[in-house]
């Protein structure tokens, strides 16, 4: 599986630090375009603050909408980082090396973007500070721990801080490397950030242990985050939301979209940073195998949600599924979701040749995320807008409004912008991990074939 070419450390430095240390013109163009989209989103949000949420397509029953769908979607994407990085570290998968950091950084920016949505979707944005921080000291009124919306910030803050620290501790050796390769002001900044890391035996020892230790600590957080997001929904006794399966269903959906998100970012990094030597077809091959399993589990949970929704033959739950399956536009959306989330990508991923094609992997990964966005949209909107027992709320078709489209697009741009700026400032491929891979690289001859091999520390 590992068809890595042997590379010298100097060459690795040159390739991987190039983008961080030099500024090509495309960078400014990309920065400008993404910045403009983000700015449009900020302006739209300004209108919302001034004019109120009437600008959104909300109605008396559909109180949560695209913003919450975006929130769930981006939290889902953010699961990529830990999924790829932590699990692959724990199983010592060699192919993790070039992709761990872009996965983790994707987590940071996706999560930060996700965190914006619950705040901007509230009616009084300027007061939400009360929600996250205790505010009423004199009367001792604090946030209510019994609310799922308190579990939510606690989980997201934990995950965000954890991931940032994870990335930082993993970045130390590369900051030291960048310090050694730069001059002037940049050098001083890198020197301060790298805390004077010099690469002693002890420091490397701790780096390798840290990767494993932090990975195993952050995995339980990772599972809890999307579970708690799912409990925002399943705690309410709303038919279609109040389901026990939501926690694992959300997590597996998050992994599905997250792994696809990592593939997308891998392709982008490979293409724009010209890292064809580092992010190689065998990496896509390995991710593709993983995706087959993840997609199958996702479909299983989707079917369970469906089966045991209608299993009880309760009118309300059946109504929700009626809406999803047979009522346009939801029926069409559901069809698109199944096709792009499973029926197209999975058969392709079964073929080794498709898994190794960067182009196919890119488009299938995008398709999966289209499907997963639709899934979240359906999960949020349909239970809210099914025909309820009261005539007052019978016809409640929800239509997204222009500001919602703009802010959704701005969120995509914001995440990409974050990745771009990060890649500009820091090496997005972990230089030291790639070098470690070269150190541990071996070959074994069995009969007449030479098989790639890897050296591991003897465990006992």
């Amino acid at each position: 599986m590992q068809e890595r070419a042997a590379l010298s450390p100097a060459q690795i430095n040159g390739d991987l630090l190039h983008f961080a240390l030099k500024t090509p013109r495309q960078f400014w163009i990309a920065l400008g375009v993404l910045g403009a989209i983000v700015l449009a989103g900020v302006v739209s949000e300004g209108f919302i603050v001034v004019l109120g949420l009437q600008l959104l397509g909300l109605t008396n029953t559909v109180y949560w909408s695209v913003f919450i769908a975006n929130f769930v979607f981006w939290v889902g994407i953010s699961h990529a980082g830990v999924m790829i990085s932590a699990i692959l570290r724990l199983v010592y998968a060699e192919w993790r090396r070039p992709i761990t950091r872009c996965a983790e950084v994707l987590t940071i920016f996706a999560l930060a973007t996700a965190g914006l949505f619950p705040l901007i979707h509230t009616g009084r944005v300027w007061r939400t500070i009360y929600w996250v921080f205790p505010y009423d000291f004199t009367r001792n009124v604090w946030p209510d721990v019994r609310s799922a919306l308190i579990w939510d910030p606690s989980a997201i803050v934990t995950y965000l801080i954890g991931t940032i620290l994870f990335v930082y501790s993993d970045l130390l050796p590369d900051l030291a490397n960048a310090r050694d390769r730069s001059a002037g002001f940049r050098r001083r900044v890198y020197a301060v950030l790298s805390l004077g890391f010099r690469g002693t035996v002890r420091q490397w020892r701790l780096q390798t242990i840290a990767g494993i230790l932090l990975a195993s600590l952050i995995l339980p957080v990772f599972v809890s985050v999307h579970s708690i997001v799912s409990w925002d929904f399943s705690m309410a006794i709303l038919p279609g939301w109040h389901s026990t399966i939501f926690a694992p269903y959300f997590v597996i959906g998050a992994i599905h979209s997250g792994v696809a998100g990592v593939v997308t970012v891998m392709v982008l990094v490979r293409r724009f940073l010209r890292l064809e030597d580092y992010i190689r077809p065998e990496h896509f091959d390995a991710v593709g195998r993983l995706q087959v399993v993840v997609a199958a589990s996702w479909l299983f949970f989707f079917l369970m949600d469906f089966y045991f929704g209608i299993f009880s033959r309760e009118a309300a739950e059946i109504e929700v599924w009626n809406l999803r399956l047979f009522t346009p536009p939801y029926s069409a959306l559901l069809l698109v979701m199944i096709i792009t989330g499973y029926l197209i990508p999975v058969p392709l991923w079964l073929f080794r040749r498709c898994r190794r094609s960067v182009r196919i992997m890119f488009w299938t990964s995008l398709a999966v995320n289209v499907a997963l966005w639709i899934e979240r949209y359906m999960l949020v909107i349909t239970p809210l807008s099914y025909k309820e027992p009261f005539t007052f709320t019978w016809v409640t078709a929800y239509k997204p409004q222009p500001v919602e489209y703009i802010i959704t697009a701005a969120a995509v741009a914001l995440v990409l912008l974050g990745l771009l700026v990060f890649a500009k400032l820091f090496p997005i491929v972990p230089v030291w991990a790639v070098k470690e891979g070269q150190v541990l690289r071996r070959e074994v001859r069995i009969g007449r074939v030479t098989v790639p091999a890897v050296a591991r520390e003897k465990k006992y």
Binding site: T200, L214, V439
Partner: protein
């Protein structure tokens, strides 16, 4: 922190084999295993250069952090609920299941923060010492750092040179 105000010498090598040889030679000259370390640009298997194994207490940090996180979490969840006991939805004032969700996050946050602090601390960072360093190390060269020279600078330098060092840099004027 390790080598503040201490004279030290850094030999630059091209191959790991030379480094292992240099360590052997230094030990033969009477330097202690704790008086030298190897600088590399990537982790090598433990003991590859025949260096002394490093003891650390990193595994204690997450447990301490988890305990702190749990304590802070308990304080916050219990404190906020009983400081102004408002009934909501007929749920008990001290509602244990929701608390467990928050406590869980608090515990893990504490563990994560303390672990990263532990990594930095155990790595002896931030390193403000003036010990010699050379940018070539992160370019694939190897460094052998000898400290606590105590007047044996020449001896160390000879040993490094003889082991194949292409360069020796140091904080004291080389002789």
């Amino acid at each position: 922190m390790a080598v503040v105000n201490t004279e030290a010498l850094l030999g630059i090598f091209e191959t790991p084999e030379q480094v292992a040889g240099a360590l052997d030679r230094l030990r033969a000259d009477g330097f202690l295993a704790t008086d030298m370390t190897v600088l590399t640009d990537a982790p090598y298997p433990e003991g590859a250069f025949g260096e002394a194994s490093e003891r650390h207490r990193l595994y204690v940090w997450p447990f301490v952090g988890a305990a702190c996180g749990l304590a802070v979490g308990l304080l916050l969840t219990i404190g906020t609920q009983i400081s102004y006991p408002l009934v909501t939805g007929g749920k008990p004032i001290l509602a244990i299941p929701p608390m467990i969700n928050v406590l869980y996050e608090g515990t893990l946050l504490g563990a994560l923060i303390m672990t990263v602090i532990g990594i930095i601390f155990e790595s002896r960072l931030p390193d403000l010492s003036a010990a010699p360093y050379d940018p070539r190390i992160s370019q694939g060269y190897f460094g052998v750092l000898v400290f606590r020279l105590a007047g044996r600078a020449d001896m160390a330098q000879r040993a490094l040179r003889r082991a194949g060092a292409i360069d020796v840099v140091g904080t004291l004027p080389s002789g």
